[in-house]
């Protein structure tokens, strides 16, 4: 669990911004600094330690247990190319591409979890994009394995990866409406299913079975 790679990246690309580190929190809070641990489980059970007064939830800064950086959308491709091709970083393995929807901030966060087999270091990249302009360059040219992960993020969260070789839905059917993992998604029966239900209803009425609930 080392932030060295993140700081090194910051030196090359000044535009990137490091995740807020737990160590920067003011002293005296009841949280133990996870930056000092070895990544293993700590010792405190938050529910059973009422020692310090609990701060209101909105004041507690979120914890980021994986070292990582925020990358501006325009800089994503150069940053990724450097990380993957430069032996000084050697992040040749893309664990996964995920995305999180934050409707109240009108934002989508796209995440890339990178890993180096040589140095066993990991780094997370986070790109914030507006919800109504969900475009981001595809990194499938840098890591081939991103191909399906990006298709999944496109399918479930409606993020368009520009330059992707084959951006189609991967989990849902091609005619699906909406993107299920968006927070405002409401499930609707697809039209064919509504038709089937109507047909069944007719059949049931014909048999005198009454209305089906």
């Amino acid at each position: 669990m080392s932030w060295a790679l993140a700081e090194k990246l910051k030196a090359v690309f000044p535009d990137v911004e490091l995740f807020p580190r737990a160590g920067t929190e003011p002293a005296g809070t009841r949280d133990q600094g996870p930056g000092t641990g070895s990544g293993e489980q700590g010792t405190a059970v938050p529910e059973s330690t009422p020692a310090a007064p609990r701060r209101p939830a909105h004041e507690v800064p979120p914890q980021y247990l994986t070292p990582g950086v925020y990358v501006p959308r325009e800089k994503l491709l150069p940053v990724c190319t450097t990380l993957a091709r430069d032996p000084g970083f050697g992040l040749t393995y893309l664990s996964c591409v995920s995305a999180v929807d934050w409707p109240d901030r009108n934002e989508l966060e796209v995440l890339y979890h990178l890993y180096s087999h040589q140095t066993r270091q990991e780094l997370a990249l986070k790109v914030r994009i507006p919800r109504d302009d969900a475009h981001i360059p595809s990194v499938s040219g840098v890591w081939d394995g991103a191909n399906w992960h990006e298709r999944e993020a496109y399918d479930l969260l409606g993020i368009t990866f520009d330059g992707h070789p084959n951006l189609r839905r991967i989990m849902m059917t091609d005619d699906w409406v909406g993107h299920p993992l968006r927070k405002d998604y409401v499930y609707q029966d697809p039209p064919w299913l509504v038709e089937v239900a109507k047909e069944r209803q007719k059949d049931a009425e014909g048999l005198g079975l009454g209305e089906r609930v």
Binding site: P34, E47, Q63, Y93, S95, C96, V100, D144, G145, I170
Partner: protein
């Protein structure tokens, strides 16, 4: 005289006995040679990630059992509770950590046995299946007596395990280890030295090392291509840093290497189980964790080594009693993506062997 030939599109699946579930492959053939393969997935998509957002942290243990890889439920529980424990900084008692390690390795053996059996069937060796199921049954019995479930255990808890091991369980587990090591040479006789098996697997479906890394392959598939990476060694969790075991790595990258890697992994799992049984400490099995657990605001990425490879969970918490977002990094999903590369240029009959050798579980791929 030149004969005009055309490429043939062959549709395999989604219901086909050799695709191990509901996978559809669109194979482009030139005569008998495979030009291209496009796997079509999603037939088993159950939107587990969405469902998890609507369940509490405790309820989700039961969900990851079923919604993810159903052949290694313990491994799914492990990655989920590990992510929660890391974010909440929840301590796990020693005894629980040993019990978890034993269960995880038993699960690895049982999952590899299923793979071995079905891989044998794919290649026409039916006996291997019956033998593998026989051994697996003993593991199922061990699971059943400890957890009450054979496939879906719901045994791990955030901060420990649900119940202590029943009376005499460790002896029975020890017995199984002896029994299993006796049986393993039989597989060598049945498959490793079998000329038909060798002809079908040796040199077939080679995945070069750099391609494996670039495509995100992990687990036995990547280790058979020469990547010495195992999360249990690289980022130890539970008690893996305290037990001795080797990571089998082969450089050939063919179906046979993937077979050998998994066979050796089962031997190493027995080694781990024996060491854990020897050192199993007495004491608590669960630390006090509220049923309505609220994790602090933040995010964590936990990775573990499931029988199929690098299984990760990215968990985002907004401080509520249920996760804000969960992303499951399924090993079979990335391994399946490497399939196209493995199959290109081989004969249509090899498609079955290569697909069988990467050990996919479709509920892990589709989630």
């Amino acid at each position: 005289m030149a004969l005009r030939t055309e490429e043939l599109m062959l549709n395999m699946g989604p219901q086909h006995p050799s695709t191990h579930g509901v996978l559809r492959m669109v194979v482009t053939l030139d005569g008998e040679n495979v030009v291209d393969v496009q796997p079509d997935i999603g037939y088993l998509h159950s939107s587990v990630e969405k469902m998890m957002e609507n369940r509490t942290y405790l309820q989700n243990i039961a969900l990851v059992d079923r919604g993810m890889d159903y052949l290694s439920a313990m491994a799914n529980e492990e990655v989920w509770v590990l992510a929660c424990e890391r974010l909440g900084k929840i301590e796990v008692p020693e005894r629980a950590r040993y019990i978890r390690t034993i269960m995880l390795e038993l699960q690895r053996i049982s999952s590899h046995l299923i793979w071995l059996g079905t891989f044998g069937i794919d290649l026409g060796a039916f006996t291997a299946f019956l033998w593998a199921m026989r051994e697996r049954e003993r593991i199922m019995d061990l699971f059943e007596s400890a957890t009450g479930g054979r496939l879906h255990h719901v045994y791990f808890r955030i901060g420990g395990v649900f119940e202590d091991l029943p009376e005499g369980w460790t002896d029975r587990c020890e017995e199984f280890c002896d029994y299993f090591l006796d049986r393993l040479p039989e597989y060598d006789e049945l498959l490793t030295g079998n000329p038909i098996f060798l002809a079908r697997t040796q040199g077939v479906g080679v995945l070069p090392l750099d391609t494996a890394i670039a495509m995100g392959a992990s687990g036995p598939v990547a280790r058979a291509s020469g990547l010495a990476y195992d999360v249990r060694k690289a980022h130890p969790y539970e008690v893996y840093e305290r037990v001795e075991f080797d990571i089998p790595v082969r450089s050939e990258g063919d179906c046979y290497a993937r077979y050998l890697v998994r066979l050796e992994e089962m031997r190493q799992s027995v080694r781990i189980i024996r060491q854990c049984l020897e050192r199993l400490p007495a004491g608590e099995i669960r630390s006090k964790v509220a049923v309505t657990l609220r994790l602090p605001k933040g995010e964590v990425y936990a990775r573990t080594e499931s029988p199929r490879g690098d299984l990760g969970i990215y968990l985002v918490s907004d401080g509520a009693d249920r996760p804000y977002r969960v992303k499951i990094r399924a090993p079979a999903f990335s391994n399946l993506y490497a399939l196209t590369e493995m199959m290109r240029g081989w004969k249509v009959a090899d498609v079955i062997a290569i697909l069988g050798s990467i050990d996919i579980v479709l509920s892990d791929v589709d989630r």
